[in-house]
């Protein structure tokens, strides 16, 4: 039965990569080889083993699976072959978590002992296992196996960190960059008055009318009235478009187009979102050539929106370039000490979006690295307040979800704990605003995933036992 037919999610790219690499390797190489597979999920390991078995059978070769039932049987299962000539590919599997149940310390010690002994006799190991040797263990044993058998580790052919295929798909940040679309009002009555003022027709100049339309669109979007906001943002684009395109108008037109793109994306109209963002980039590009720093923020924002729109339309490969460009521009601004709070948040969002895209492209390590940069940047440079804690939590949730899939739950647990600690700090220091301090639901979901995966965050009891709150806009 295929994975899809069994109702499980399709194997992740990490599985595909592992199976493809192993299958090709057995076709290309005829010498001793050594692979380490680390996973918490035996179904992932089974998938790889079964594919490898097939690849070997096609070459009239065989795979022998060794699954010692007790820790004391681990070393003999391999050592008993040493000195002979084993043509089969040996798959030695014992996935037991250190510190878990099932006498796992004994398993950990058994694995360490096996590593030490094989390391001492590595030449014999190389001479014995002509068909290759694959060691399948829990991810938390990776450092231990590396340290106990450095010689063996140094001649490894592959190391695969397999994802847990049985877990649900990752939780990624809410649709859209938080810093662009966040509401900046707290008082409903005041907002109503502002809306009424912005909506009233006046005798303004065409420039002022266009700005009024844009301002109204922003306020409407803040209240969640996206459709009305889109109408006014579109009107602003038309009004700016009718004006002579001096640099100031060009900047305003680009910003209005960016708003249209964000609104179109939020209503699911991806094609229109892409078109508007692309137009914003084109409108703002000449200002970049003239090297006008004031327009850089808008241009970077347009690039991020274009990347997000392409990504949401399923065009992740196309999304990479504009996001990369935005990241490069914003990084440079931040590095030149001209980084404002806005630019730092913008860089975080651009990196987060790029991280998301890289994960979609199954470039796991790059995706993880971008998310890590966001989290470390947010922690390091931004003052801790509700918006930065929310941004931190959203990205921590996304990164943690990806890490869980890559069988790196302990790292995810650390991130989730850090994110909850921010809220703990806010709550304990009276930072609460009108909305109250509450972690976003994405963080809660990933914390629950960790509980299910057997890695409950230390903070889980307190936060998960309370009722879920509505996620902040």
């Amino acid at each position: 039965m295929t994975a899809a037919a069994s109702g499980r999610p399709a194997p992740a790219q990490a599985l595909a990569r592992a199976t493809a690499r192993l299958a090709r390797h057995v076709g290309w190489s005829s010498e001793f080889w050594l692979a380490y597979i680390f996973t918490v999920d035996l179904s992932s390991a089974d998938h790889v083993r079964s594919e490898l078995d097939q690849a070997l059978q096609q070459r009239s070769r065989t795979l022998r699976r060794l699954r010692p039932a007790a820790p004391s049987a681990l070393l003999p299962s391999v050592a008993s072959h040493l000195g002979s000539s084993v043509e089969e590919t040996i798959w030695l599997e014992a996935v037991r978590e250190p510190g878990g149940l099932d006498s796992s310390e004994e398993w950990t010690n058994a694995w360490t002992n096996l590593a030490l002994r094989l390391n001492e006799r590595r030449q014999l190991v190389r001479e014995t296992f002509n068909g290759g040797l694959i060691l399948v263990a829990h991810p938390e044993l990776k450092s231990r196996l590396r340290g106990a058998a450095p010689d063996l580790w140094s001649v490894r052919t592959f190391v695969f960190d397999l994802p847990a295929a049985a877990l649900p798909p990752p939780v990624l940040p809410a649709d859209g960059p938080l810093w662009i679309e966040r509401a900046s009002f707290v008082d409903g009555r005041l907002l109503a008055r502002q809306l009424a003022h912005d909506s009233s027709p006046g005798t303004d100049t065409p420039q002022q009318q266009a700005r009024g339309s844009a301002r109204l669109a922003t306020r409407l979007w803040s209240t969640g009235r996206a459709q009305e906001a889109l109408e006014h943002a579109t009107l602003a684009v038309r009004q700016y478009g009718a004006l002579p395109l001096d640099p100031a108008t060009r900047t305003d037109l680009g910003d209005a187009l960016s708003m249209v793109s964000g609104l179109q994306r939020s209503t699911g109209n991806h094609a229109a979102a892409i078109a508007a963002a692309r137009e914003a980039v084109e409108v703002l590009a000449p200002l970049q050539r003239d090297d006008r720093p004031s327009s850089s923020d808008g241009w970077a924002r347009a690039l991020v929106l274009l990347g997000l729109a392409l990504s949401r339309a399923g065009r992740s490969a196309d999304a990479q370039a504009p996001l990369q460009e935005a990241v490069t521009r914003l990084r440079s601004q931040v590095a030149n000490d001209s980084g404002t709070h806005y630019q730092l948040m913008a860089l975080s969002e651009a990196l987060g979006a790029l991280g998301h895209v890289m994960l979609q492209l199954r470039r796991w390590e790059q995706g993880l690295a971008y998310y890590r940069e966001v989290i470390e940047g947010l922690s390091e440079y931004l003052p801790l307040n509700v918006p930065s804690a929310d941004a931190l939590a959203a990205h921590s949730a996304a990164l943690s979800a990806a890490l869980i899939r890559l069988a790196r739950a302990p790292e995810a647990r650390e991130l989730v704990d850090d994110a909850y600690a921010s809220y703990e700090f806010l709550a304990n220091n009276d930072f609460a605003d009108a909305r109250g301090v509450q972690p976003p639901s994405a963080l809660r979901r990933v914390a629950q995933e960790l509980v299910s995966a057997g890695h409950p965050p230390h903070s889980a009891d307190k936060w998960l036992s309370s009722e879920p709150q509505t996620q902040s806009p």
Partner: protein, 445 residues
């Protein structure tokens, strides 16, 4: 994928498989002879330390990082010396020492003499059968019988031949046997040393008798650097290695014989003056791809480029030389990582239909190599970041030696040389370590 492409990728992939090379292998590139190694080829230095020295004996230390070609370079040294007329015995001490338990000068001397005895007996050109019938193992048992040292079943009631075999196996495989032997030998170390020295002198005489009085003899004791213990006793084992080489240099010299011991790279850091007790001490560094200021180092890159070119046509894998140099720089001059990265990239090329791969795919494969080194603890990151900043591997306290050894063994830390040795982080880990260290600093602050 076209057959020709598949064949090319497969052949290139196979050529990168990990195996020690003989110096005359078609793939061998003398990377330690030129400026890539600061013009100081350790092998030539070692050889010169023997041929220039009058009196026919010397004792030198040789350190090699795993995967830098130490086995190949020792073979080259052997070949070079043999060409110059030396008689060379290569003794792999992994067959005689137990790497997981502390070593003592007494059992080391027995093991070394036993290893030389076996090496001479196994080579018909050296001593062959002449030594085989009464090698050192028998002699060692007789010594113990003479001095009434009772260890296990080595005493008179046992057949001497069996007892000598038991001694050899006990030293290698039975930690309690070694421990008892070490205890019992404490009062007899002087006599044992004399006995071993006499045996070594007998070997020299036997070789002179067979090959002429002008024949110079070299013994290369390999693999000693692998003494490391385990997570429980590593500090004790490291300390024992230091005591052996820093505390007993006189007992490790033998009349009429040039000796080279391979020692762990951390020994010089833990005991900075240790080399002064010997006639020389050389370290096989990684191929230097950047200078201390971080600028790319062209001679090193040229050497690595040549190594790659010998194995396959990289222009069919990368679209520009820039991409190749990127891979060379990122793998830090550590050949095994370079080969592993190239193998992964060849697979990526095959995945993509067999053509050249772009920079994004290259970085993906490098990221997968980086992942092999992770996770790194915050404590490790802090110390490693200090090394990256200063290029010095100073130990804050002696308890850190096991950690230092671990960094070297796992190649988190790489050693280079321009005249003097200096250290750097593996390039693939630079950013991760600095980030972690900064994070650790913040959480402490």
């Amino acid at each position: 994928m076209a057959d020709a492409n598949e064949q090319f990728l497969r052949a290139f992939y196979r050529a990168l498989a990990d195996r020690p090379l003989e110096p005359d292998d078609k793939w061998y590139v003398p990377i330690y002879e030129g400026p890539a190694s600061s013009m100081a080829d350790p092998v030539h230095r070692l050889a010169r330390g023997m041929s220039w020295r009058s009196g026919g004996d010397s004792t030198q230390l040789f350190s090699g990082f795993r995967g830098t070609g130490k086995s190949t370079e020792l073979r080259r040294l052997k070949r070079l010396l043999e060409r110059e007329g030396f008689k060379v015995v290569l003794c792999d001490m992994k067959h005689y020492l137990n790497f997981s338990t502390p070593v003592d000068v007494s059992d080391f001397l027995i093991s070394a003499a036993g290893a030389l005895s076996d090496g001479l007996a196994a080579d018909p050109d050296l001593c062959g059968e002449q030594l085989a019938h009464r090698g050192y193992w028998v002699r060692a048992v007789e010594f113990m019988q003479r001095t009434k040292i009772e260890v296990g079943n080595l005493q008179v009631k046992t057949n001497v031949g069996d007892a000598s075999e038991n001694l050899k196996v006990g030293l290698r495989q039975d930690p309690s046997f070694r421990q008892v032997l070490q205890e019992k030998m404490k009062g007899h170390l002087g006599k044992l040393t004399d006995d071993v020295r006499q045996f070594m002198a007998d070997c020299v005489n036997a070789l002179h008798q067979r090959h002429g009085d002008d024949t110079e003899i070299v013994v290369l004791f390999d693999s000693i650097e692998q003494l490391r213990g385990n997570s429980i006793n590593d500090a004790e084992v490291f300390s024992s290695v230091e005591t052996l080489f820093a505390g007993h240099p006189d007992k490790l010299r033998f009349q009429g014989m040039h000796v080279v011991y391979t020692v762990p790279p951390w020994l010089k850091i833990r005991s900075p003056g240790v080399v002064n007790h010997y006639d020389g001490g050389y370290l096989l560094p990684c191929v230097k791809i950047r200078d201390r200021a971080g600028q790319p180092f062209e001679p090193g890159l040229r050497a690595l480029r040549k190594i790659v070119e010998q194995r396959g046509d990289w222009t069919r894998l990368f679209s520009s030389e820039e991409d190749l140099v990127h891979v060379l720089l990122q793998t830090g001059g550590y050949l095994r990582d370079l080969f592993r990265a190239l193998q992964n990239m060849l697979m990526a090329a095959a995945d993509g239909g067999g053509g050249q791969i772009d920079r994004a795919a290259i970085d993906d494969e490098l990221a997968s190599i980086r992942n092999d080194y992770l996770p790194i603890s915050l404590a490790d990151a802090r110390w490693l970041a200090d090394v990256a900043n200063t290029h010095e591997a100073e130990l804050p306290d002696r308890d850190r030696v096991p950690g230092l050894a671990r960094y070297f063994e796992s190649h988190l830390l790489l050693c280079y040389r321009n005249g003097e040795e200096w250290y750097d982080l593996h390039p693939l880990l630079q950013q991760t370590v600095q980030r972690l260290a900064a994070r650790g600093g913040r959480s402490e602050g």
